[in-house]
């Protein structure tokens, strides 16, 4: 075999090696990601993540999710309401994570009972303001900031409030642990006619409040 031929043989290894490497890359990656036995229960935190919790309006920040508006409980301000009734409560949301993102508040699916829908008559006014990471604004709104307030809707019908992250007003938040206090004021608005208001009797409306950071 000539020197030329030897070199040529050596060179022939190159395409094989290149293609092999490519195939290995694809096979290995695909196997790890797509095999049916891939364990997907454990969250992977290798590179970064975002965390979001809320205080449920409680006096101490413990990541509660209890509803702040408890209209189903007799004696609560949201129970047994009349036209024109109003109330304000606050809740604190904590974000943590390795990325800055946009925090948005949107409502969940509205459910309810009654001969007519109540949600269109529940007008919500929502303000958000950043608070210090150690500050906990509870449902009584003590400590809600007077500055840097972002209005997220004024007397917007609960049923018309954004229901997706994309539709909600984003609030830019930086990376790291920080908190945003939300002040939610609701009013039972009249339908405009006494007969219409009459039909609201006994109606209930229920919706989750969702926060999402992306």
């Amino acid at each position: 075999m000539s020197r030329t031929n030897r070199r040529r043989t050596v060179r022939a290894v190159a395409p094989v090696a290149g293609l092999l490497a490519a195939g290995l890359l694809v096979w290995q990656g695909s196997y790890a990601a797509f095999s049916a036995t891939t364990n997907n229960t454990a969250d992977a935190w290798s590179t970064g993540n975002l965390i979001l919790t809320n205080n449920g309006g409680l006096a101490a920040y413990a990541g509660s999710t209890a509803a702040i508006f408890a209209g189903t409980t007799v004696g609560q301000p949201e129970n047994n309401i009349k036209i024109g009734a109003t109330g304000t409560k606050c809740i604190t949301v904590q974000s943590g994570g390795s990325f800055a993102g946009n925090l948005a508040l949107y409502r969940g699916l509205v459910t309810g009972t009654g001969s007519v829908a109540l949600a269109p008559q529940i007008g919500v006014t929502i303000d958000a303001a950043p608070v210090a990471a150690a500050t906990n604004v509870a449902s009584n709104c003590t400590g809600f900031p007077a500055v840097s307030i972002t209005n997220l809707g004024t007397n917007v019908a609960l049923s018309a409030y954004p229901s997706t992250f994309a539709a909600a007003t984003p609030l830019p938040v930086a990376a790291g642990t920080l908190r945003v206090a939300y002040r939610i004021t609701w009013t039972l608005n009249s339908t405009g006619t006494n007969a219409g208001d009459n039909l609201l009797q006994g109606a209930t409306a229920q919706a989750d409040l969702n926060w999402e950071i992306q």
Binding site: G18, L19, N49, G202, I213
Partner: protein, 522 residues
């Protein structure tokens, strides 16, 4: 052939092999391996398109560590949710239809939609994925291939430049190496295996490509063969790169959610009866009595101011127990006045002073065109008497011949408010009159329809009655027939032809809100 291309491909020198160079050989092999590697990745990325699979470049890292930014996910069409469960799925982001997302399906919802989640996200995605959103099931992951696209998107031109430079250097190293080794027998092809990649240019190069591909193996290393139209191979390679750059991207966005669940509001089941009693009425006749000869109209105020159906013992005078005005009341009953003498009078024979502050509410239903007194404060207790001769009658709500409803108070003259519209439409209506410091007000169905500045009523004593009474002299503004005149009949009964329900009297002035809330609690 362009000058730049010429630089990459020095002309062959057939009869004078260049001096042997180990360095050139090593560099050439490395360059060739690199180019083949890249080409292999590109081919693997693009060939599945032939089978209907779709490639997506991953843009963000919420599927890390298994899927990284810049990886290409190849997804096959799949609409069976059971097959998607637990698998990485590419779908149109339900929240942002302009974006494609590559997350894992973690649950199938009862309605057939699916819940998705990024492996690196603490919570599931907020919006359910519909089957129609699914673009495909992740099948193959080609690492890094999409990075040039990501770099281009992010403006990381340096990385892009370095990558392109590495390709050029590799090509150059190969060319230099090849100069050492120009074979006298060009037909001895060391790269016959390349023919396996033939389908590729067919897809990418169009008609020309297919012709060439049939006869020419594609060497991604820009192989030298004098007879090969090298620009074709080169074009194919550039085409591959371009094809990869045109792969759509799929986000795998980082996200987290928190929920304040089940916030609820409940409107009171306003009960009219308890709403009335909560306002502390002076008397409250619900008129829920049944039976044909009942005489007692119970006072629900708790003050014991009962009324008397008069003449109660006569079955022809009243139809009791008809459907009342309150849809939420139980029992919801009312009474129809069925004779010209039917009346509901205060039972007590002791006259009381006419209240200075006053609210009176009555529900009525009528199709009458003769009008009549619905509710009022009157002397004597039963029957009628001429004004000035033992008869006083004001603070009354009455209907005129055209069906308009009036609220009249006597203060050295008639102070009047009327409804603007006729209410003798056969439906239940609520009339509420208030008198006192704020003046006079008349509400129909909970809405204020008129005011009068008069604040004082006739100073007298008497009794409350409903359904009958004297109206002589109260003809001011009267519309329709049966207008009451003092001169012709000073002591005449003007019975109300219709039904009455829920008579309530206060010795206070109720607010507009209180009266509205009463109405909407009906």
């Amino acid at each position: 052939m362009s000058t730049a291309a010429a630089a990459l491909e020095p002309a062959p020198v057939p009869d004078a092999p260049a001096p042997y160079s180990r360095f050139r050989l090593t560099a050439g092999i490395l360059g060739r391996t690199w180019l083949w590697f890249v080409a292999g990745c590109l081919v693997v990325t693009l060939v599945p398109i032939l089978f209907g699979w779709r490639p997506f470049v991953i843009e963000s890292g919420s599927m890390e560590p298994r899927i990284n930014v810049g990886d290409v996910v190849l997804a096959s069409p799949e609409t069976d949710t059971a097959a998607l469960l637990g698998r990485v799925t590419v779908f149109t982001d339900p929240g942002r239809p302009e974006q494609v997302k590559s997350h894992r399906i973690v649950a199938i919802n009862p309605d057939g939609s699916m819940t998705s989640k990024g492996d690196a996200n603490p919570t599931v995605d907020s919006m359910p994925v519909q089957v129609s959103d699914v673009r495909g099931l992740g099948r193959l992951l080609v690492g890094f291939v999409g990075l040039p696209l990501i770099w281009a998107q992010n403006g990381q031109w340096l990385y892009l430049l370095l990558f392109l430079l590495s390709m050029i250097l590799a090509a150059q190293a190969m060319s230099r190496d090849h100069e050492d080794d120009i074979d006298s027998d060009p037909s001895d092809d060391d790269d016959t295996g390349d023919a396996q990649i033939v389908p590729l240019p067919q897809r990418l190069g169009g008609s020309t490509g297919s012709t060439i591909a049939a006869t020419t193996p594609l060497d991604p290393g820009l192989s030298f063969r004098a007879r090969t139209p090298r620009w074709v191979a080169r074009s194919a390679y550039v085409g591959l790169l371009a094809a990869v750059l045109s792969i759509p991207t799929a986000g795998a966005s980082f996200a987290a959610t928190t929920k304040n669940a089940a916030n609820a509001w409940a409107v009171g089941n306003w009960d009219y009866t308890s709403a009335i009693t909560a306002l502390g009425p002076y008397l409250y006749w619900k008129l829920d009595e049944t039976g044909t000869t009942t005489t007692v109209a119970v006072d629900t105020s708790g003050n014991g101011r009962t009324g008397t159906y008069n003449p109660g013992a006569t079955a022809a005078s009243f139809t009791r127990g008809i459907a009342g005005a309150l849809t939420t009341d139980s029992p919801n009953l009312a009474v129809t006045l069925t004779s010209a003498t039917s009346c509901i009078n205060t039972t007590s024979t002791t006259a009381v002073a006419a209240p200075a502050q006053l609210s009176e509410i009555v529900w009525f239903k009528s199709t009458s065109t003769t009008g009549g007194k619905i509710l009022g404060f009157e002397q004597p207790r039963t029957g009628v008497a001429q004004a000035g001769s033992g008869g006083t009658y004001d603070r009354h709500i009455y209907m005129d011949g055209a069906g308009k409803v009036w609220f009249g108070v006597y203060n050295a003259g008639d102070s009047l408010i009327s409804s603007s519209t006729a209410l003798n439409d056969g439906a239940w209506h609520m009339a509420a009159g208030t008198l006192g410091t704020p003046g006079m007000k008349l509400y129909i169905d909970g809405t204020l329809v008129g005011t009068n500045p008069n604040t004082v009523g006739e100073a007298t004593t008497g009794w409350w009655r409903a359904g009958c009474g004297n109206l002589a002299g109260w003809g001011d503004g009267w519309t329709g027939g049966n207008s009451p005149t003092t001169s012709s009949a000073p002591a005449r009964n003007y019975p109300f032809t219709g039904s009455i329900d829920e008579v309530a009297i206060w010795t206070t002035v109720l607010s507009a809100t209180q009266i509205r809330d009463l109405y909407i609690a009906k």
